[in-house]
């Protein structure tokens, strides 16, 4: 596999349209790390706790997400020891990751709203005012 040039600044491609959003798992991971440095296992527990046990990820799939985010420069990691003194890798949000989390959260909200609207019976007045309101906000 020929080496890929690293994409240094995902932000350059500006707010992702809602329909192109990456899997919600990335967003959950970023959201878990916004509370501070944590290792992989801790990230899984945080997601569980913050969603009040409503969201359960298949925990093995956390790691490809962590590595992907690290390669994108949204999170950074350093080796260390866990609280029970086992080898562990600690992840933290980078400045870039923090901004991305903000953008993606907005995108996610738009996505959820768009889905919600699209499954309601159409009433032109409400749809127009809502989208108008959002646009003036940003």
């Amino acid at each position: 596999m020929p080496p890929r040039p690293r994409k240094r600044n995902p932000e350059a491609s500006s707010p992702p349209p809602a329909e192109l959003l990456q899997g919600p798992l990335d967003l959950l991971v970023l959201g878990a790390l916004v509370d501070g440095t944590e290792h992989g296992y801790g990230v899984a527990r945080r997601i569980e706790r913050k969603s009040a046990d409503a969201l359960r990820v298949e925990e093995g799939s956390l790691y490809p997400a962590l590595y992907r985010l690290e390669r994108q420069g949204l999170i950074a990691s350093s080796p260390g020891r866990s609280e029970n003194n086992r080898p562990a890798r600690f992840y933290r949000l980078t400045a870039l990751g923090r901004r991305q989390l903000h953008l993606r959260a907005q995108g996610w909200a738009r996505f959820v709203e768009a889905v919600a609207r699209s499954i309601r019976p159409a009433t032109p007045a409400t749809a127009g005012s809502a989208s108008h309101g959002r646009r003036s906000e940003s």
Binding site: M1, P2, P5, E58, E59, G60, L62, P64, S78, A88
Partner: protein
């Protein structure tokens, strides 16, 4: 949270780990496996704690983790690595590295020309560094083999404005008795004795020391004992300690040497002990063969004579500052107690190392920096070679990249290659330094204090190896960085890389080399210029091949009258020889060192206040001395054979003395005598003034000197004969024969021509200048090599173009100019950069140089010209060769 450690260490460690992981797929696999495994364990432990059975916990954990194999391969893909079938993590990192090292080693083995070139270049640079570091280590860094050497101090006497003078034995005894921050003090004075050796008498160095000296130094003799306190009393001091080398050579290393008797100056002396091997002289002088107790009778010794060098030891808790303050108070007390002699006497403390090594420190650091720059130039040279090698291997690299080697892995290979070459260069360089460079250097550096302590040991070895690895890393960096940079894709995409950018990188290396070489060259020319200036200083005598040699009469066999008779007869015999043009005798030779300053009175001038007397140097000479050494007569006459004991006492003074005491009048006719107002010395008439002689060194201004005729003084027991002749060898034979005829037991010592004495007096300057020249020429050659390579490469790349142009009728001169321009641009860029560095470097070394303008534009211009001329040759020759190509041949290629 991770337990808090030192933040900096943490950051550095994790950075290293990250760099390593980038370069090693095995490390990444290890990381993934570890994280998944730890996750499962953590989960299982938590589940067990929540009340599940062990088996249930394991099953639940597996379930919640999901398909591990799938997640693992997805993880690796996310990390940019293709999963390998076999991966057990852990030691695979190391085996990976070992395999790669073997591969790199094999590939180097297959290109022996390249490897040999790189190893040889690095080895030369590393060997020079090791040798200089070894010397610097011995002189400046390595603790001296005394007990707690950091507590030893050099005690200088001060006398008015003279801050580095010698001291009086009674003063030393008082300092030692009254000071509490100084644990002990001892004095040393140089000297020599006649030793009745096995076949012929010889003069051997014998230094006199206070009896407590070995206790102060904290050294025990290898055999026997040190001196006892009562051996410092006159009449009891016929005992000696032997230097290790003298013991093993003259006494055959006799284990029962203690108690044996040596005949010294005709008197039997008892051996009381042997010093350990490698015992350094406390003052950094050449170790004498013998050490004698310093004998003096307190009742009969005056406080006026200052002839001892003093070393002391600070008490365990005392600081240098506190000891200095205490000593200041003591010398002030002594000045009140003995106003006649001690009014101007003080003492100054320095750490022993600072006091002894003095200015040589800077010389050594300058040399180390210079030799470091040389290694840098060498590393840049091989860096350029390594870039060229990577270019040659571009197809192989492209194939490896296409097969999935990441650019980090490719870069790692290059770094490994550099480290391997560095290690090889280090090993060869170590051998080179230990076998050749260090011994040669030590020979040249004998004037540097403690240079004989230089040893080629683990310390120097580690320094060398570390340096070599660093050089290896440095040399691989340019090539590795280019591989790692994203532009590498060009390899795969086109198969044939653009040469231009690669040439730029090599060009940058050449620019750096030119700049560094100019810095070295300019410093070397400056230091060389200062040496030439120094040697061009008029020493005050005609420095030709006059042979000089010392003849010493044992006091026990010769009284004053018979000494006079001996030397008169010796001079007559030498004068009678046709091969010798003129003969003179003197008690102290110029550049021979040693003060003999005494106070004096001039009848016509007001007497100085007590304690404010000035002193003049005494020279006892035969009348022939002025002619033999070629001193200039400025006024009056020189001494004549008629200036005998029964004639009017006379003296001749030097210009410095005349200028100081008779600035406006002629001193001829004035009356002079040694000592103060109560002196019993007879008045002596000043009959002439001769030119100044640089007695204390070429850089030292002349002091007031008084020449006395040998027949009118208490006769010295030792004279230096000065023989002017065309053939110094023949003169020595004549001298030996003449002395043997008069007394076959007498040795002839210190045989050298005046020219050699001048050379010897600037030995340190010569060493400095010589080494800097060698380093800068080596750097220049390496730079030319690099330049040649770049130009030849550029020319080879343009073969087709040149062939085409020639075929179309381009003039060769125009083509040559076109090709030379590129090379010379690099040279000029390097020159501009180097000029800045050179100006800064010259300012830095200016402190080393006396009397030479550091901004001396001539020597800087000289360095630039030399560099440009040599560089022009390195640019033109390969260009010319490229132009000789047959157009048809070049066009048909490829």
């Amino acid at each position: 949270m991770a337990p808090r450690r030192f933040a900096a260490v943490d950051v550095a460690l994790s950075w290293l780990v990250r760099v390593w992981e980038r370069m090693s797929p095995a490390a990444l696999e290890h990381r993934v496996d570890t994280e998944l495994r730890e996750h499962r364990e953590h989960l299982r432990a938590d589940l067990e704690r929540a009340g599940h059975s062990r088996a249930a916990a394991r099953r639940l954990a597996e379930e919640r983790l999901g398909d591990l194999a799938l997640h693992r391969s997805a993880s690796l893909e996310a990390l940019g690595v293709a999963a390998r079938r076999d991966s057990r993590g852990g030691d695979s990192v190391m085996s990976d590295l070992a395999t790669e090292t073997r591969l790199v080693g094999r590939s180097l083995w297959r290109s022996p020309g390249y490897s040999a070139m790189v190893v040889a270049t690095l080895a030369l640079g590393v060997a020079a560094n090791a040798a200089i570091f070894g010397l610097l280590d011995a002189v400046l860094l390595r603790p001296l083999p005394y007990h707690e050497p950091e507590r030893l101090v050099r005690v200088w006497g001060t006398w008015g404005t003279d801050l580095s003078s010698n001291s009086n034995p009674l003063d030393i005894a008082d300092w030692s008795a009254r000071s509490r921050s100084l644990e002990g003090l001892f004095g040393i004075s140089g000297g020599a004795v006649t030793h009745a050796g096995a076949d012929r008498p010889e003069q051997v160095a014998a230094h006199a020391v206070s009896s407590s000296w070995l206790e102060v130094l904290g050294v025990s003799p290898a055999l026997g004992r040190s001196f006892t306190a009562d051996e410092g009393a006159p009449g009891r001091s016929q005992v000696v300690l032997l230097e290790y080398g003298f013991w093993s050579q003259e006494l055959g290393g006799d284990p029962h040497a203690v108690g044996r008797t040596l005949l010294l100056n005709g008197t039997p002396h008892t051996v009381v002990g042997v010093l350990p091997g490698g015992f350094p002289h406390p003052l950094g002088w050449q170790s004498p063969s013998l050490w004698r107790p310093l004998a003096f009778d307190p009742a009969k010794t005056s406080r006026g004579g200052h002839f001892l060098h003093v070393v002391g030891r600070l008490a365990p808790e005392a600081s240098l500052g506190a000891a200095q303050a205490e000593l200041d108070a003591i010398t002030a007390d002594l000045a009140r107690q003995y106003p006649d002699t001690n009014a101007q006497i003080g003492a100054r403390l320095e750490s022993l190392r600072d006091g002894v090594v003095g200015d040589a420190q800077r010389t050594l650091w300058v040399l180390l920096v210079a030799v470091g720059l040389l290694l840098l130039v060498a590393a840049l040279d091989v860096g350029a070679l390594s870039l060229a090698r990577q270019l040659e291997r571009r197809h192989e690299t492209a194939v490896r990249a296409a097969l999935g080697a990441s650019r980090w892995v490719l870069g790692r290979g290059v770094v490994l290659e550099g480290l391997l070459l560095g290690a090889a260069g280090g090993i060869v360089g170590l051998g080179l330094a230990g076998g050749a460079a260090a011994p040669v250097l030590r020979l040249g550096a004998q004037r540097l204090p403690w240079s004989e302590q230089a040893r080629f040991d683990l310390r120097v070895g580690l320094f060398t190896v570390a340096l070599a690895l660093l050089a290896g890393l440095l040399l691989s960096l340019p090539a590795a960085l280019r591989l790692v940079s994203p532009a590498l894709r060009d390899f795969g995409a086109r198969g044939r890389v653009r040469g231009a950018s690669r040439l730029d990188a090599r060009g940058a290396l050449v620019v750096a080399q030119v700049a560094l070489s100019l810095v070295l060259l300019s410093v070397a020319t400056l230091v060389g210029q200062s040496l030439r200036d120094l040697l061009a200083t008029d020493p005050g005598f005609l420095a030709r091949d006059e042979l000089t040699a010392q003849v010493t009469l044992p006091r026990i066999d010769y009284d004053t009258d018979s000494r006079l008779a001996f030397f008169q007869r010796l001079e007559e015999r030498l004068e009678a020889s046709a091969a010798i043009e003129s003969v003179g005798l003197v008690n102290r030779l110029p550049l021979g060192g040693g003060h003999s300053c005494d106070s004096f009175t001039i009848a016509e001038l007001p007497a100085p206040a007590p304690g404010q007397e000035e002193c003049a140097e005494e020279r006892v000479v035969t009348p022939g001395y002025f002619d033999a050494l070629g001193l200039a007569l400025l006024r009056g006459r020189v001494l004549e054979p008629s200036d005998r004991l029964d004639a009017v006492p006379v003296v001749v003074i030097n210009e410095a003395m005349a200028r100081r005491y008779w600035p406006d009048a002629s001193p001829v006719g004035a009356r002079f005598r040694w000592g103060g107002a109560q002196s019993t010395d007879p008045w002596r008439e000043v009959v002439g003034v001769v030119g100044d002689v640089r007695h204390f060194g070429l850089t030292q201004e002349a002091q007031p000197e008084v020449y006395l005729p040998h027949a009118q003084v208490t006769y010295p027991s030792s004279f230096h004969a000065v023989l002017r002749s065309d053939d110094p060898g023949a003169a020595l034979t004549i001298l030996r024969a003449a002395v043997a005829e008069l007394d076959p037991r007498l040795p002839i010592a210190d045989v050298r021509t005046m020219r050699e004495r001048i050379a010897g007096s600037v030995e340190t300057e010569r060493l400095r200048s010589g080494l800097l020249s060698v380093f800068s020429v080596a750097a220049l050659l390496l730079t030319l090599l690099g330049l040649w390579g770049v130009v030849a490469f550029a020319a080879a790349r343009r073969r087709r173009e040149i062939g085409l142009r020639v075929a179309l009728g381009a003039r060769r001169a125009a083509l040559l100019a076109l090709m030379a321009r590129q090379g010379m641009q690099l040279v000029l860029a390097g020159l501009a950069l180097g000029l800045l560095g050179a100006l800064a470097a010259r300012r830095l070394v200016s402190g080393l140089l006396l009397g030479t303008e550091t901004t001396d534009p001539a020597s800087l211009a000289g360095a630039c010209l030399l560099l440009v001329a040599a560089a022009a040759a390195a640019v033109l020759l390969p260009s010319l060769r490229a132009l000789r190509v047959q157009p048809a041949v070049a066009l048909r290629e490829d």
